[in-house]
Amino acid sequence: MGEFKVHRVRFFDYMPSAISAMAFNVHTERLAVARADGTVEIYNFADNCFQEKVIPGKDGRTVEALCWAGQRLFSTGLNGEIVEYDLENLRSKYTVEAYGGPVWTISSNSQGTQLAVGCEDGTVKIFELVEDSIQFQSNFDRLKSRVLSLSWHPSGTQIAAGTMDMIRVFNVTTGHATQRMMVDRAAGANKKKEVAVWSVVFLSDNTVISGDSAGKVQVWDSQMGTLIRTHLVTKWDVMALAVSRDESSLLAGTSEGSVVQFQFISARLDQPDKEWQRTRTLRSHSHDVRALVHTDTAAVSGGNDAHLVVRPFMEKVVKGSKESAPCKITFPHRSLVSCGKKAGILLFQFPERLEVWRLGESNENGEELSVTKKPEALIHLKRKGDDHICCSTLSPCGGWLAYASASSVRLFQLQYDNDSIALTKVEMGPLHVLLWFVFFVPHYLPSPSPPPPEVSKQAVHLMSTSDDGQWLATANSDCEVHVYNLKKLKYHCTVPVYGSCPSAMAIHPTGSNVVMVHADQKIFEYSLEQKEYTEWSRSLAKKGLHGSWLNRVAPVTHVSFSASNPDYIILHDMNMFCIIDKSLPLPEKDSDLVGAETQLISNSSVFPSVFKNLLCVGLMEDHSLVVVERPLLDIATRLPAPVRQKKFAT
């Protein structure tokens, strides 16, 4: 397989942002995740939880709550606005001022015709969804304190609203409160502290379930306004509740980072009278669980530790199948690092700045090399404007740098002059400048001769050029891969559409083949000249990939090639990287693959144990490998301290 000099880069101090809200669309199986910096991410649960779309955040915009209304996605935040997102162009479509101070929560009825928002001033406002906009409809009776949580009755006639110390049930048509349920405060010293009802759930049998800041999950009868049962779950807050579609299971997320499951089961076997019983406790987080989703097969939780955790329920999935593997998503499914292959420099992308680093050097040989020249930070480039950086790139020679935000594209020229570096902003001029770059800009294509007529309106999320600058391949979230000839500036062909979204793609430097790895871990190679799948790709498809490769949960985020051996394909995901040698025969499908150096698809080497939490693996011109790692422990130490918990024997 050959030896590599490996640069183990750990100075990219990337910090994922805390998850503040989530919403799941059952019909399209899309999960919308909002982060504390205002970013909204769309995950496709029908396609291995692939991060399909990212709507970059903006300074001054926070998201407190998200909700789907049909195919439309809305969010609210403490700036008092309701935002609808344009999911094709990946930006906010419009904002509507709610005029009630900070908006804490938003919820749509099950028919998807009305939106209810809860405001700081104690009002619940109803908005009607109209074509391309929303329209204010009515105000409910004003409450004395802020409205923190809302839940529609599935029939759409009643709304339960959680406020401080109280839950109110409103009649939607009259706008009057029909029930008032007082929530007990915590015992002891916290007696004087108001209880915040962080979350309510309204079930179809008129049961209301609430989670509050005193750590209780309470079951109420909304018709009589009486308490049925109290479960003390934690000493701290119950931040989120989520109920399954068949209303037989409920999840409660706590500030301790645990998720508690309740199930609606009968005390005696085979008897109909059921009650909510506490069953499982899932511990996946170190910090507060702020957002929860109960899908049909899994509990999805996110919180201040920025991990998105998918924990399948073993009774709902087939054991050993791909769905039964728990999944923890920490890093975005797209590249935040670009390598200047020839110059040995790296570009790191942060939401608010770019960093350019020069790699260190070593003169030694052996297993572990000591660094003779330390890596140095060359440039810190702050962005202009409010919009966060959504993509960036560096030319292979290291002489050009570009980044884009939702509103603009900027291009810079870098000049290295011994120790000083000059950065010149280049006005976006003739198109040929762009030939060296890969931009992941939605719809920002050097619009060549008429694009193919059937191209979808979805945003492009992957782009790749060939080294000679002849070919440009783009992939969008409708799973289409289009290839353009840049020399002739015209559309070349479309790769046959496969049912899973491409998660990584690259054009081979010599063979003019494009290699695509999809979110379901399938690998394809397409010849651009013959406009058909290559022989190797067809034999791979015929033979099928090995089960242990297909059952991995993290998608491949980067494909690159070795200059020395054209048969090598270098792939990596968050947990491992591997090198595929196309010249070697494929392994048997049911053979045992154990150990660090195993054969996965063709004769490939996998290095899962050595390198972990990978953000990027790239091959430099001088045949050295750059491995950018971000250990999860480093992220955890930079998070604020979690709530104190007594641990036994400490």
């Binding site: 479960h231 003390l232 779950v233 199930q263 089961i265 005390a267 005696r268 076997l269 085979d270 019983q277 506490r278 069953t279 499982r280 406790t281 009774e315 036994f648 024997a649």
Partner: protein, 704 residues
């Protein structure tokens, strides 16, 4: 050599009362528990043992109250019988033969079922019997429990919970993570069923308790987990109304969980030792916990320990020799960690515990604790010497001397000698002299033996008399092993490897040396009474007898003696000889090398601890071969800590006569009941604990 028909090796006293969970009667007045081959009925208020229900020929393995008569109890045993007893009168009512000689338990189910049916699955066997009880073979199970309605049986083994529905004959299996390290920690340790709801509680090796629901589903079953115990949960029990769940384990804390509000829990700590079983009385007012140190604690009103029934503590091993306290005739041996226990064999009851180490016992693995390794009582029972030892990095030893205090009727610490020797002490013994001044000799592996004497302080000082070293002896810097005083205390024999040295305690002169190579001396013993001129020594191959008058070898024989023991009341010496796997016993007089009693294959394993306990009154009517048991009774401990003894024919006959008396009494009682003319007599008999002979005379006088 023939097996002697007139003596039999039996368990007498000291058997485990914590083998199975005890049973509390309906009115909470009695506690019934298994105890080896018999069943004991205790009063829950006075701790008194009221009845020994004897009749089973093997270990009793299950107990249950008769569901149709709450004054009767069923028991099952490894002898393959089920017996029904009247526990208030201590009478056997009925014997049912099952021909199933496996460990089993009994459970009762409500509702009268008159069919007798059985079924088995794998290694488990369930059998309904006609009396509304269910018989379960538990040979292969860690624990099992029956639902109160009798619908299903939950049993656990390793990492699997099995639920078997008896009526539907359906079987569900729930396995927990079985891979690697998880498997050991996940293993099920105990199981209990909720009396009202369909909820099964299981305890686990890692201290977690899981509450299972919906267990009639292959996949949609569900459980919740609570965790307080830091090590395995040994016992689980629901209260009769199902409002609380009780759990216990190594921590010796009884934890009370609120069912449905598992976050709230109450504790009853400091119960003494690890909890093994928990039972609750039918009215919920009494909890009983049985502990690993053979103890049953009765807890009243969830909060107060009201009675403690203590059996013989079977510790990890008896390090001290077995001794008999001359004052109380009690057996003295290691008990709880750091304690000596005084156990009355006659009453089969622990008299008291003496805290030797006087340090808080910390229950933690890999922690070196102080242990009582040697103890000796002087001939009048007024002095007790103990040696405690901790072998951490370097050996820490202290020798303590305890004086008997007439006022408090217990031993009081008189002198503590820390580091009496440089090496571990291999033996201590008191000189048997009847004068006031007694001598203690300690023999250590550091090459010395030391004599300690009570020194009277200056009369002007206010101090009490204390012990100090009187003489340090050695012999060619060889390692001494054992020491022994002659019966009159005029000679001390100390063995140094192959050499036996004989000293005069009066002047501490070395009188003579005796030697019979090869092999180091393992045990020494002087003859008694008419044979006091003989000294017996055992090497690992030979048994030698020296005549001290001629200082020459009288006889020797090839025997692998593990223990030599002289009866203080006769000339007899008992030698336990370790064969391959079993132990043989020879009883002989030192004057003649021919044993007058021998029994081969006494028990499995090597016997290293035994004692002659003097009888209260000499036995007569024995055959010649069992004459040696006339004055004293021989008790010995097997390697798995069972206390065994010999039962002679006269004793057995006396016991038989007693049980016949009971049967006659019962017959008469029934006659009285039938005629109902003398009903008050039976009430009178059952309510007043008169001795059996008194009852008999009463009954006979009424009949005549």
């Amino acid at each position: 050599m023939v097996a002697h028909a007139d003596t039999r090796v039996v368990h007498r006293g000291g058997s485990k009362i914590n083998f199975r969970a005890p049973v509390i009667t309906q009115d909470s007045r009695f506690l019934i528990c298994v105890s080896g081959e018999c069943i004991k009925v205790f009063s829950t208020s006075t701790e008194e043992c009221i009845h020994h229900l004897q009749g089973h020929k093997e270990l009793v393995t299950g107990l249950v109250l008769n569901p149709s008569n709450h004054l009767q109890v069923f028991s099952c045993s490894e002898d393959g019988t089920i017996r029904l007893w009247d526990f208030t009168d201590g009478i056997l009512i009925r014997v049912t033969l099952l021909h199933l000689k496996t460990p089993s338990t009994l459970h009762s189910v409500p509702g009268k079922r008159n069919n007798c049916e059985g079924c088995s699955r794998g290694h488990q066997c369930y059998m309904h019997l006609c009396y509304g009880i269910i018989y379960l073979c538990v040979d292969y199970l860690t624990s099992c429990a029956l639902c109160s309605q009798g619908e299903y049986v939950a049993s656990v083994k390793d990492n699997v919970l099995h639920v078997y529905f008896l009526n539907k004959k359906t079987f569900y299996r729930f396995a927990l993570g079985t891979s690697g390290e998880m498997a050991a920690r996940n293993a099920f340790t105990c199981v209990a069923c909720h009396p009202k709801d369909d909820c099964i509680a299981t305890g686990h090796g890692d201290g977690k308790i899981r509450l299972w629901r919906n267990f009639n589903q292959e996949k949609e079953y569900t459980f919740s987990t609570v965790h307080w115990h830091h090590s395995g949960v040994n016992a689980l029990c629901f209260t009769p109304e199902g409002t609380n769940l009780l759990s216990g384990g190594l921590e010796s804390v009884l934890v009370q969980w609120r069912y449905g509000q598992e976050g709230q829990k109450d504790f009853l700590p400091r119960l003494g030792s690890s909890i093994k079983e928990i039972v609750v009385s039918p009215d919920g007012s009494l909890f009983c916990t049985s502990h690993t140190d053979n103890k049953i604690t009765v807890i009243k009103n969830c909060t107060k320990v009201s009675a403690v029934i203590q059996g013989l503590v079977h510790g990890d091993g008896v390090k001290t020799a077995l001794m008999v306290d001359p004052r109380t005739k009690a057996l003295v041996l290691n008990g709880k960690p750091g304690h000596l226990q005084f156990y009355s064999l006659q009453r089969d009851q622990q008299l008291y515990n003496l805290d030797i180490v006087q340090q808080e016992y910390i229950n933690q693995s890999n922690l070196d604790q102080f242990e009582v390794v040697k103890a000796a009582l002087d001939s009048r029972g007024s002095w007790l010497a103990t040696v405690e030892q901790r072998s951490a990095k370097e050996v820490e030893i202290s020798l303590k001397l305890w004086a008997f205090d007439e006022h408090t009727q217990s031993f009081v610490l008189n002198t503590t000698i820390s580091a009496p020797h440089d090496g571990p002490i291999s033996e201590i013994c008191f000189s048997p002299s009847s004068q006031n001044s007694t001598t203690l000799v300690s023999v250590s592996l550091d090459g010395h033996f030391k004599a300690w004497q009570l020194t009277q302080p200056d009369p002007s000082d206010d101090e009490e008399a204390s012990w100090s070293c009187d003489f340090v002896g050695d012999y060619h810097s060889l390692e001494p092993k054992c020491c022994c005083f002659s019966a009159d205390g005029s000679l001390l024999a100390v063995s140094f490897k192959e050499v036996v040295t004989v000293w005069s305690p009066a002047s501490w002169d070395l009188l003579t040396t005796l030697s019979q190579p090869p092999g180091a001396i393992q045990d020494l013993c002087f003859g008694r009474l008419s044979c006091s001129k003989y000294l017996l020594g055992a090497t690992d191959k030979n048994l030698c007898c020296w005549n001290l008058l001629t200082c020459s070898l009288e006889w020797s024989t090839a025997l692998d003696v593990s223990l030599l023991l002289a009866d203080p009341l006769s000339e007899n010496v008992a030698a336990f000889c370790g064969a391959e796997k079993t132990t043989d016993l020879f009883v002989f007089r030192p004057s003649e090398p021919r044993p007058h009693f021998s029994q081969q294959a006494l028990c499995t394993g090597r016997v290293t601890r035994a004692v002659f306990a003097p009888r209260d009154e000499p036995l007569d009517g024995c055959e010649e071969s069992s004459q040696w048991l006339n004055r004293s009774q021989l008790y010995f401990l097997t390697h798995n800590m069972e206390l065994l003894t010999f039962l002679t024919k006269p004793e057995e006959e006396r016991l038989m006569a007693l049980s016949k008396q009971v049967a006659v009494l019962k017959k008469h009682k029934q006659e009285f009941l039938h005629t109902s003319c003398l009903l008050f007599i039976s009430l009178f008999i059952s309510q007043f604990a008169l001795t059996l002979s008194a009852i008999m005379t009463l009954v006979l006088s009424i009949l005549t």
